[in-house]
């Protein structure tokens, strides 16, 4: 970073430190407690109580801001620097953004996940910028022999009376100023924002549109070889024997060997994210394509292990049986659900089911690993570098501080890159091969070896009173796990809606053992639960003879005394009312065969209500005409351009899941392999997504996830409105939608 710490000028407060740069200018580093994010630390692993930022200000007036968090397409590389630049009071055109490496001595919370970046950093990053501005002002005031309070700033210039000095002119002098306490440094009135709230294009766009290397898969280091890694198709299986010599004789192959870390001591992941130690066959050589071609020569006998008996068909049968038995555990019991169901005026019963899903980020998993000078240097698309490094250190038996991780831009994350299995593989292969290695997975590897969104089964009963009010709700949730533990992302919060809005509420669970890895997919648990809850609510509304949107508004008003819902019902009602008005709900003159469905969901602190309009031909052909989204993520959108992009993407992601996505298993193997049988949405299936906001007076929160969950149920409810058919299992492509 060309920084020479001339002064050792560490603030006595220990929060900020400034260093003079060789060649002029200042480098400001910050470390202080998290603030302005209630509950942030508890919400997601990796949320820590301190964080850090770096600003480099050079005499040319350019502020270079290190973007500390991994970029997966959520826009954080642009958003976090915007927060700093705003309070620094510098024009965005004078800002450069550089991706920081993973460095736990400099940064905290370097993680992408849980829509956490905005709530974690909204205040703190602003304080860093404000502190830097205060130092520039102090440096100017010192030169002009006046008080800092008498000076003002505007667009990268400090003013006092008729005098002015640019930040560039002040940068070196500011390096001599003791940094202020960032907790008390004043922040701008939001009415004065120049950058926050502006549509700022992504900082990497110029490189993206010209094809410059940015992604993990683009990394190249001198002397590097390419690798592929063949694993047992049965999840958890291991190599017994392989014809390595034949493979080594293939063109372009320089090495082939078995990698087995399953016996490594202490290789359990140190966090909520569990990654099994690798086992498989590495093929290494001079060309990725040639080493991948050599895979077809492999003849391997595998020890398939216990998961070979698991299949989707068996899960379906087992769930059905469990549904008839007493639930294994009670997750929540309010009032007397069984009694209320027995005495309800009307009852409804339904079984819902959703499949496993893959993440399918468009950039396949990859990592470049290079052992040199006694350490390991890696380039990796990874959402959780800190957990990854801890696990790498344990698995490899080397100290954490010998591992350097360069964060690359990621070709999508969606939760897949919370897990670092490919990093472990690359490191083990590079060590064994004795050369720098770039491991690249095929799409088939990526589809088969995911940490899947787990499927699940819900056996529901609902009861209505004489006036059609919901009085009882019972959900027997059949999921995956063993003993008291649910498999990752196979759990369900005990306070999911409609808990606290129904006097008699029972949530019960039973579990099936699972040998297949599962994990967080964008809006984890919510992406599945919302489909179940918001579809069954729709069934109850129909049974009550009420408008489904009004039924929801009434329900949100119905929280019994003494209940504390998981979210603020008023905020949810506001987005429902907004989406009702914007979509023309109940008033639009729709042609025959066209209908609207509605759903809402609260997740990741965001309130979202959505209407989907769909057309179904009598023959059963489905087209989605439009999606309306109303969201409330607090009082400020940091970057409205990216905010809308995220919401539209999340809504269409939900649409893709509902329409035609499922991962199935047979003999412990994933059956789907590429985009022909795990289908991503295409442009001709993508309807317009209209986005509207309720700007409520609450802390700004994140947008990567919460717009997704309402789409699948809203679409299924629209299909019901047209066809009278209830979709109780996903994907929709399984169902005959014809009607007459």
């Amino acid at each position: 970073m060309n920084a020479v710490d001339k002064t050792g000028n560490l603030s006595r407060r220990g929060f900020l430190h400034v260093t003079a740069l060789a060649g002029g200018g200042m480098l400001l580093g910050a470390r202080f407690s998290l603030d302005g994010a209630p509950g942030a630390a508890a919400a997601t692993a990796g949320a820590e109580t301190t964080l850090n930022a770096f600003i480099r200000l050079t005499p040319d007036g350019v502020a270079t801001i290190m973007a500390q968090n991994p970029e997966i397409g959520q826009g954080v590389k642009t958003m976090l620097p915007m927060l700093i630049a705003e309070e620094l009071d510098i024009p965005w055109s004078q800002v450069r953004v550089e991706q920081a490496d993973f460095d736990s001595t400099k940064y905290r919370g370097q993680m992408a996940g849980g829509s956490m970046a905005t709530p974690m950093h909204y205040q703190s990053m602003r304080r860093v910028g404000a502190a830097a501005r205060a130092m520039l002002v102090a440096a100017a005031a010192r030169q002009w022999k006046t008080k800092p309070e008498n000076c003002t700033t505007e667009a990268g210039v400090v003013h006092f009376k008729k005098k002015s000095l640019s930040y560039g002119e002040l940068a070196s002098a500011a390096a001599e100023i003791e940094p202020p306490n960032p907790r008390t440094v004043p922040l701008k009135d939001p009415a004065d924002f120049q950058i926050i709230g502006q549509e700022i294009p992504g900082v990497d766009n110029p490189k993206i549109v010209t094809g410059e290397p940015l992604f993990g898969i683009d990394v190249a280091v001198p002397g590097m070889k390419y690798a592929v890694f063949e694993k047992c198709r049965v999840h958890g299986g291991k190599v017994k024997t392989a014809n390595l010599d034949a493979v080594k004789a293939s063109p372009g192959v320089t090495d082939a060997f078995v990698v087995d870390a399953t016996a490594q001591a202490g290789s359990a992941a140190p966090s909520m994210f569990q990654v099994a130690p690798p086992n498989g066959i590495a093929i290494v050589g001079d060309s990725w394509w040639l080493v991948n071609e050599a895979r077809s020569k492999l003849e391997v006998t595998w020890d398939e292990g216990p998961t070979a008996s698991q299949s989707t068909a068996a899960f379906d049968r087992q769930a059905e049986e469990l549904s008839k038995q007493a639930p294994e555990q009670d997750l929540r019991n309010d009032g007397d659900a069984a009694g209320a169901l027995a005495s309800a005026a009307k009852t409804l019963e339904a079984a819902y089911q959703y499949p496993f899903l893959a993440h399918a980020p468009l950039e396949p998993q990859n990592t470049t690993a290079h052992f040199h000078d006694g350490g390991l240097e890696m380039w990796a698309p990874i959402q959780t570098p800190q957990f990854a490094r801890g696990d790498l250190a344990k698995t490899l038996g080397i100290p954490e501080d010998q591992i350097t991780i360069h964060l690359t831009r990621m070709g999508g994350g969606f939760g897949r890159r919370l897990y670092w299995d490919y990093m472990l593989e690359a490191a083990l292969i590079a060590r064994q091969a004795g050369v720098p290695v770039k491991l690249v997975w095929t799409r088939e590897d990526d589809t088969r070896f995911d940490f899947f969104r787990p499927g699940g089964y819900h056996y529901l009963k609902g009861g209505l009173d004489d006036s059609g009010n919901l009085v009882a709700w019972r959900d027997h949730f059949v999921s995956f796990g063993e003993g008291p533990r649910f498999a990752p992302s196979a759990e369900m919060a005990a306070n999911e809606f409609p808990q606290a809005f129904v006097p008699n509420f029972a949530l019960q669970a039973s579990k099936m053992p699972l040998g297949i890895p599962t994990g967080a997919l964008r809006a984890p648990t919510s992406n599945a639960i919302s489909f179940v809850v918001q579809s069954f609510i729709d069934e109850l509304a129909a049974e009550a003879g009420k408008d489904p949107l009004q039924f929801r508004l009434d329900l949100l008003d119905a929280a019994p005394d003494g209940m504390r819902p998981a979210f603020d019902a008023k905020r949810m009602k506001a987005v429902l009312e907004l989406v009702r008005d914007k979509s023309g709900w109940g008033t639009a003159d729709l042609p025959e065969g066209t209908g609207q469905g509605v759903a809402f969901h609260f997740s990741h602190r965001g309130y979202f209500a959505e209407v989907v309009q769909a057309t179904v031909s009598k023959e059963g052909e489905l087209g989605v005409d439009q999606i309306w989204v109303a969201g409330d993520v607090g009082r400020q959108l940091v970057n409205p351009s990216n905010a809308v992009n995220q919401v539209q993407g999340a809504a269409l992601d939900g649409l893709a899941q509902a329409l035609d996505q499922e991962i199935t298993f047979e003999g412990g193997r994933t059956k789907e392999s590429n985009f022909h049988n795990f289908k991503l949405l295409r442009i001709d299936q993508a309807p317009p997504v209209e986005v509207h906001w309720v700007m409520s007076d609450n802390q700004p929160t994140g947008l990567g996830e919460p717009a997704l969950p309402p789409v699948p149920p809203a679409l299924c409810n629209a299909i019901f409105a047209v066809t009278g058919k209830r979709i109780r299992s996903l994907p929709i492509s399984r169902h005959d939608l014809s009607w007459a």
Partner: protein, 169 residues
């Protein structure tokens, strides 16, 4: 085997197995990393390049078929990122993760070359082989329409916020 073709306007010769897909020749032999690998089976369009001006999936095109052809990759679409499609993509702020976008831009520029004023229907048809996992489809449509305008009336006014700064130098 030596294979000769024109790559981004320059004559190029590579030594490669004839059946090696052009994608891997571009990425790993010629160090042009802009063309992306997504599926390897013509399903996603991330690897789209122009072959004699037509969009082609380079992951399924043996390099031997490039012999004597004119190949254009994202790196060669313009000198300095000034192709109307590249400009429009930035002005509309299309990318999320950005991984698909080189392929999208190559398909979009080929579309506009043959159909300067495409309708939404034309766009859907021409672009349906290009998957965007982040689903930036609304903006892709908008950017293609915008590029069509830019191509007609060379750069004078820009309606969208451009925020010139912010990129890594």
């Amino acid at each position: 085997m030596a294979i000769a073709f024109t790559l981004n306007g320059k004559s190029t010769t590579v030594e490669a197995p004839p059946e090696m897909p052009l994608l891997w020749v571009l990425r790993d032999e010629l160090d042009l990393k802009g063309t992306k690998f997504g599926c390897g089976r013509s399903f996603c369009g991330a690897c789209t390049v122009h072959v004699n001006g037509e969009p082609e999936r380079s992951c399924r095109m043996p390099v031997s078929r490039a012999e004597g052809k004119e190949i254009t990759t994202i790196e060669g679409l313009s000198e300095d990122g000034a192709h109307p499609v590249q400009v429009a993509w930035q002005e509309i702020d299309v990318p999320q993760c950005g991984y698909c976008q080189a392929g999208q831009i190559m398909s979009a520029s080929a579309l506009l070359a043959s159909n300067p004023q495409p309708t939404d229907g034309d766009i859907d048809e021409a672009m349906s082989g290009n998957i965007c996992r982040c689903a930036t489809y609304g903006r892709i449509r908008a950017a293609i329409h915008h590029a069509a305008k830019l191509a007609q009336a060379p750069p004078t006014s820009h309606e969208t916020a451009t925020g010139a700064g912010g990129s890594e130098a």
